[in-house]
């Protein structure tokens, strides 16, 4: 729980520092592209584990049904983290816009595969990909 709070805090801090980068999941380029910089594929991925206590609590939730707020937050954290990593990658390459953002999830814990005797692990695995490009500035268009 301490880890979750710390993570949420760091996410907020880093999200506030993103600055001027345009994010869309449109298939095409939503702003005019500066032809001087070639576009590039950028990716981010993360795996975050649930903790044993929350897993135990979820056991009860599973009996009565309904939303699990913790697992919901866990996946939200994974998506935000992966998105931030992708943005960081784009920014380090000098890009200021990302389009066609896609989210994907994976299963490393072996829950969907039904790993049999091997103990399965609870984790949120998120992968995100997009095309980074350099926007042509309005001043340049005019």
């Amino acid at each position: 729980m301490v880890i979750e709070k710390k993570h949420l805090k760091s996410l907020l801090a880093r999200e506030s520092k993103i600055g001027d980068i345009q994010l869309t999941n449109l298939k095409g380029f939503s702003a005019s592209v500066n032809p001087a910089h070639p576009v590039a594929l950028v990716c981010g991925e993360v795996a975050i584990a649930s903790d044993a206590f929350k897993r135990f609590v979820f056991g009860f939730r599973n009996i009565f049904g309904g939303e699990s707020a913790y697992y919901c937050r866990l996946f939200a954290r994974a998506r935000r983290e992966a998105l931030l990593r992708m943005i960081d990658q784009a920014k380090s390459l000098g890009y200021d816009a990302i389009c066609n953002i896609r989210f994907d999830s994976s299963d490393i814990g072996g829950n969907a595969a039904g790993a049999g005797k091997k103990k399965n692990m609870d984790m949120a695995v998120c992968m995100v990909s997009g095309t980074a490009y350099f926007r042509a500035r309005n001043e340049e268009n005019a």
Binding site: P38, L41, A47, D51, S106, I108, M127, S129
Partner: protein, 107 residues
């Protein structure tokens, strides 16, 4: 080589579509990393080993896809998508696929 997940590249036109290319990989981390992940599963937090595993798998799949595109004589892969499936605990399967094409600058 251009690898993008959009269906066009600004400033370039598509000369010829070479067809679908794909690359996939199934990777696992050594047992030490799996044990560490098991412990992390008690306290919670990021599984750095598995994050690394994903990054490696994605790169491997992308490189294999690019090799296939190179064999077809393409210089770009458009509309790249990643797909994953569940195989077993501690392993990740990533498949990258896209359309190989030759592109040329507009002017």
């Amino acid at each position: 080589m251009f690898v993008v997940n959009t269906d066009s590249i600004p400033g370039f036109r598509i000369v010829e579509i070479k067809g679908l290319v794909q690359g996939n990989t199934v990777r696992a981390k050594h047992i030490g990393r799996d044990l560490a992940a098991g412990i992390k599963n008690i306290v919670g937090g990021e599984l750095k080993g598995y994050t690394e595993l994903l990054t490696e798998s994605r790169r491997e799949a992308t490189v294999r896809m690019m090799e296939q595109a190179k064999q077809l004589g393409a210089n770009a892969i458009l509309n790249v998508r990643f797909s994953t499936s569940a195989i077993t605990a501690g392993a990740s399967e990533i498949m990258a696929y896209g359309t190989a094409a030759t592109v040329a600058p507009l002017n």
